[in-house]
Amino acid sequence: MFIFQNIIIMLDSAFNIDCGYLEGLVRGFRNGILRQHDYLNLVQCESLDDLKLHLQSTDYGSFLANEASPLQVSVIDDKLREKLVIEFQHMRNHAVEPLATFMDYITYGYMIDNIVLLITGALHQRPISELMPKCHPLGTFDQIEAINVANTSVELYNAVLVDTPLAEFFGECVSEQDLDELNIEIIRNTLYKAYLESFYNYCKNLGGPTAEVMCPILAFEADRRAFIITVNSFGTELTKEDRAKLYPTCGRLYPDGLAALARADDPENVKQVAEFYAEYRALFEGAGNNPGEKTLEDKFFEYEVKLNVNAFMHQFHCGVFYSYLRLKEQECRNIVWISECIAQKHRAKIDNYIPIL
């Protein structure tokens, strides 16, 4: 039986037995992603109502039809997210193994973000009920609202996280120290590191086109985190040793690049590390904070979009689900960015969205 299953997994075309319907669905959803001419039209909008009118002619349809005008940017944001979540959960509910676990893995990232958001909020004496709406719906779990019980990371683990899928990622960051800003950041990044590595291994074990597609995407994600951790750590009390512990080791930077990053003292050093990697060099070269230049963050986003768009060139793999979610999130960010620019009458930077396709 086991051998038989392996044969089945190896056959690409057997993918359709379980996931053919969902892949069809996700490719259909992907065709609804806004194109360049949609953005050109959106950018021309005078008000948010114009934006709503134009979105009505796209795949978004009447998703804002039941909102009273004048519209708020936050309402648009909520509705965009709600639509995406409904789509994702619909697919998740129909998924079978190994896609089901794969899709669960996607949600773990949101869980980490939610936990960190809540703990940080609790540190600043904000009530949980006020923070909950800000959490991503994909990353909620039963115990999440009781998170402020925990004062130290041990408590956090023992009381809250031990029952969640995140428990296995938590191994390294258990300490008796009280939770403070720096601690939380470290927890977040350690969790993320463990999560990324676990996800990477899971995809690698799946093999086939899924590994072919997902591994480069996750490797890039890992490298991006390593770069950003390094850049953000300058001028903080984070020691170099601690910093090195936060780098996810599933990227292309591992091991030489990470070692070099661990020694970096200023942004110039980071750039030098990137010099050794062709695709990252290109990202660092065009980046800057001056007007007219794109920030490093945007460059990373652009590269991520490119990777995710390419994922759709392959067939019979789970990566499309991840890529779809990422592309759609980027699209939501774009729409929200444009809406913000329109709402605040700040049109100079309205073109700074990241086009998809």
Partner: protein, 843 residues
């Protein structure tokens, strides 16, 4: 008239509308539904058009109405559909409508929020009541000792002895200091209890004690209105630290905590208080509900007409957005397609519109245009379904012959050849007739089932198919695979009983007057054939031949229709180089084939005075004859009057040879002639330097749009013509063969129904006695179900699809282009219908 055979003439018109009267004019045109507006600003974004604000206001109103509708539906108040169709209100009335909706929405929202607050209150009190009731049990269980003792000095939650009962644990231990043992009582969603309990245990390291009990009846969630199940819990703990922690966890799990007095007397008192407050609240709640109900009922009365009004306003502004703005004269310019016969009606409607607004009249100009106008077939409820069959293949090019008219007869007829059975035909006819008879009530009743809508849409097709099947059933003499002997068979069996018993097969000889009367059965097949051993052979020969005959007639008819197309569009070249060789090709080969069939039927036969050459045994095979004809192979002439001849008439060989030669010549004629003439014409034109010759060859009628003279690419024409020719020549063979499906399906249908009779119903009929009666009861049910499901529905569907194919491919390929686009008039009726269907879908 004549609109049945061709699509109607449609004119491009320009409309000058005064800005005051534009709205009313468009509204009138929308009621009329005869005008298709062209979008004059295709490059302008939806939100940059002139009347975008009005459209937005309509959207807003629609939103409010949808909200109202949702609320009405939630209370299950019936909405009145009076079926009346209010006119689009004037723009100034829009403000009233808006204000009205605004008021209603606000009122409803206020009522709702009040009701929600009340319900929340109610929920809290109910929960409290449950807590008081359930905790009473907890406290009682723990012995009557506990409450006052705990009050006095608390007790130590000494949990070291796992086996010691709880009551003992809670008993005051004098050795320890006075510690306050506190407790928290509350209500939590039942599905969260398990993780809640686990979390409590983990976070407090097992130092708390939780009791819980389920609340049996569901409670209403005030926010969503859903019924949810909850549980009462009570947690005992000691110390302030734990209390804080427990409270946090409770909050985290959205449990609602209630104060619960410790003394039984206090609890009893509180329970009384809660009960009276619940009663008060109940009356208030029912009053709020009544108010809400009243508001909604009054809204429900008008909701549909409001919705219609808003949809109409929106549609009008959408149309106005397609117009150009004439800044000089302060008006709007529209371009639209109008069927020529309706120009008068449109003018009248425009006049009505301007009168309503009391401004200058609108001006309607006819324009000449380059692009081809849309195709408009005026249909009624009878022809609509047939037109739909044609349109789903491709909308006719502007003003070309419309096959739908002929389809009305040919479609059911070809269907019936395949479906020939009187019994099944009657079932189908009755079903069709019922739908036609109950047309009005059925069409008013909106059914969501797609299958039913397809059947109902094609009710006239079904009716005709059924009646035609009855006719072919009579011709085939087939009723549920049995024959009717209405007029008495022409054949008689003269043999005595012993001969019949001894011989397995007996041959009847048509030459013997005591066996065959000499005149055939008056109509259709002689019922005797039903018993004959060679029934299948006989029917196959007969059905194959009629399939070919009807097929060739059908195709020839299609080719002849192409002549009407060529003449109408003045394409003389096509008549000379396509129509004539096509007709010659078909006549020389396939029409001749059908003639041979008829010659064989008429000339050969049994009888006393028939010479040997014309006896059935001597009749030549038509298939062989035809194959030899095409291969140009001859036969030896008959030796004498007593031997059979391979020829049916004198000079057949030479006539056939000539016809094959003519047919072969037709092929290069079709292939080369037209490109050659076009080539010559273009060369002449090049020499003259003008484009006059093209016009001489292919004059376009004045009503036709003048195509811009384009240089024909010679190779393209050649390839096009080559494909056309090959398609025709090969197609004429394969299409003729394709008509054999008529025979095949008819055979299959007859055999299937015979099998069903033989395998199912006969068992019932051959069982004797009372048991047979009972068995028959069930067997007939099975037979009837199978007949309807398999023979009528499934076979009917398959015959339908084959007929459809014969029309689309074999028939229409001979003349039909189908390159046009449909005329979609701006009509309120169709817009409202589309909106309503989306609304019902959304439900």
């Amino acid at each position: 008239m004549g609109s049945l055979f061709r699509s109607e003439e449609v004119a491009l018109c320009q409309l000058f509308l005064q800005s005051e009267s534009a709205y009313t004019c468009v509204s009138e045109l929308g009621e009329l539904g005869l005008v298709q507006f062209r979008d004059l600003n295709p490059d302008v974004n939806a939100f940059q058009r002139k009347f975008v604000n009005e459209v937005r206001r309509c959207d807003e109103m629609e939103r409010k109405l949808r909200y109202l509708e949702r609320e009405i539906r939630r209370d299950a108040i019936p909405m009145q559909d009076t079926g009346d169709n209010p006119e689009a209100p004037m723009p100034r009335e829009m403000i009233d409508l808006e204000a009205n909706f605004e008021k209603l929405e606000n009122e409803l929202k206020e009522v709702n929020s009040n009701a929600e607050a009340l319900k929340r209150n109610y929920l809290e009190l109910t929960e409290l009541r449950h807590i008081l009731k359930k905790t009473q049990v907890f406290f009682d269980e723990e012995g009557h000792l506990w409450p006052w003792q705990a009050e006095r000095d608390g007790c130590a939650g000494n949990l070291d002895g796992g086996s010691v009962s709880l009551t003992q644990n809670l008993l005051p231990d004098e050795a320890k200091g006075p510690i306050q043992l506190g407790f928290v009582a509350g209500v939590i969603l039942r599905e969260r209890v398990a993780s809640f309990e686990r979390m409590l245990w983990r976070a407090c390291r097992g130092n708390v004690f939780l009791r819980q009990a389920q609340i049996e009846e569901p409670l209403e969630d005030p926010a969503t209105g859903e019924q949810v199940y909850k549980s009462v819990f009570i947690i005992f703990f000691q110390g302030e630290q734990l209390k804080l922690r427990v409270k946090k966890i409770c909050e985290g799990f959205r449990a609602t905590m209630y104060p619960c007095p410790e003394a039984p007397a206090d609890r009893r008192e509180m329970a009384m208080g809660v009960k009276t407050r619940l009663d008060d609240l109940n009356t208030v709640l029912s009053q709020t509900q009544d108010h809400r109900h009243r508001v909604l009922v009054s809204a429900a009365r008008n909701l549909r007409s409001w919705m219609l009004k808003v949809w109409k306003i929106k549609a009008i502004y959408h149309s106005l957005n397609m117009f150009n703005i004439d800044t000089i004269q302060n008006g709007l310019i529209a371009e639209c397609w109008i069927p020529v016969p309706d120009l008068e009606t449109v003018q009248l409607a425009l006049r009505r519109g301007t009168e309503k607004s009391g401004s200058l009249p609108a001006i309607l100009n006819r324009l000449s245009c380059v692009e081809s106008p849309p195709t408009f077939h005026r249909t009624n409820k009878f022809t609509r379904a047939f037109q739909g069959l044609i349109d789903s293949y491709g909308v006719a090019s502007y003003r070309e012959m419309n096959p739908a008219v002929y389809t009305i007869i040919t479609f059911p007829f070809l269907f019936a050849i395949m479906f020939g059975d009187l019994g099944h035909g009657i079932i189908m006819t009755l079903f069709g007739a019922w739908m036609v008879w109950k047309e009005k009530p059925l069409s008013v009743k909106k059914v969501d089932s797609e299958i039913w809508n397809i059947f109902f849409g094609g009710r006239y097709i079904i009716l005709l198919m059924g009646t035609f099947s009855m006719y072919t059933g009579i011709i085939y003499n087939d009723v549920f695979s049995k024959s009717l002997n209405l007029f008495g068979s022409s054949w008689h069996v003269p043999f005595n009983e012993s001969t019949i018993r001894d011989n397995r097969e007996i041959m009847l000889d048509p030459k013997q007057p005591d066996q065959y009367e000499g005149t055939p059965y008056p109509i259709g097949l002689d019922p005797l054939w039903q018993l004959a051993a060679n029934k299948i052979n006989f029917l196959n020969s007969y059905k194959m031949k009629i399939s070919i005959i009807f097929g060739i007639v059908h195709m020839m008819f299609g080719i002849i229709l192409s002549l009407w197309n060529h003449r109408f569009f003045n394409r003389r070249l096509n008549v000379l180089c396509e129509f004539i060789p096509q007709v010659l090709f078909m006549s020389c080969l396939f029409v001749y084939l059908t003639l041979l069939v008829f010659i064989k039927w008429v000339n050969y036969g049994a009888g006393e005075d028939v010479p040997l050459v014309l006896t059935p045994g001597c009749a030549p095979s038509i298939l062989i004859t035809f194959i030899n004809m095409v291969l140009m192979k001859g036969y030896e002439e008959a030796k004498g009057p007593n031997s059979c001849s391979a020829y049916m008439y004198d000079g057949q060989f030479y006539l056939q040879r000539m016809m094959v030669v003519v047919a072969v010549i037709c092929v290069p004629w079709m292939l080369v002639a037209k490109p050659y003439f076009l080539y010559r014409a273009s060369k002449q034109r090049a020499m003259l330097g003008t484009g006059g010759v093209e016009g001489a060859m292919e004059e376009t009628p004045s009503t036709m749009p003048v195509q811009p003279a384009e240089d024909h690419d010679m190779s393209e024409i050649l390839i096009h013509q080559g494909i056309h020719t090959i398609e025709f020549v090969l197609g004429s063979v394969s299409h003729t063969a394709s008509y054999l499906r008529l025979w095949a399906l008819s055979l299959a249908h007859a055999q299937l129904s015979e099998v069903l009779w033989g395998m199912v119903l006969r068992i019932g009929l051959s069982t004797a006695g009372t048991t047979g009666g009972f068995a028959m009861y069930f067997i007939f049910a099975a037979w009837a179900t199978l007949t309807v499901v398999i023979l009528v529905l499934m076979e009917g569907l398959s015959a339908f699809l084959h007929t459809l194919r014969l029309h689309w491919v074999e028939f229409q390929s001979k003349f039909y282009e189908g390159q046009g686009y449909a005329f979609v008039p701006f009509s309120f009726d169709s817009i409202l219908e589309a909106n309503e269907s989306t609304v019902t879908e959304a439900k």
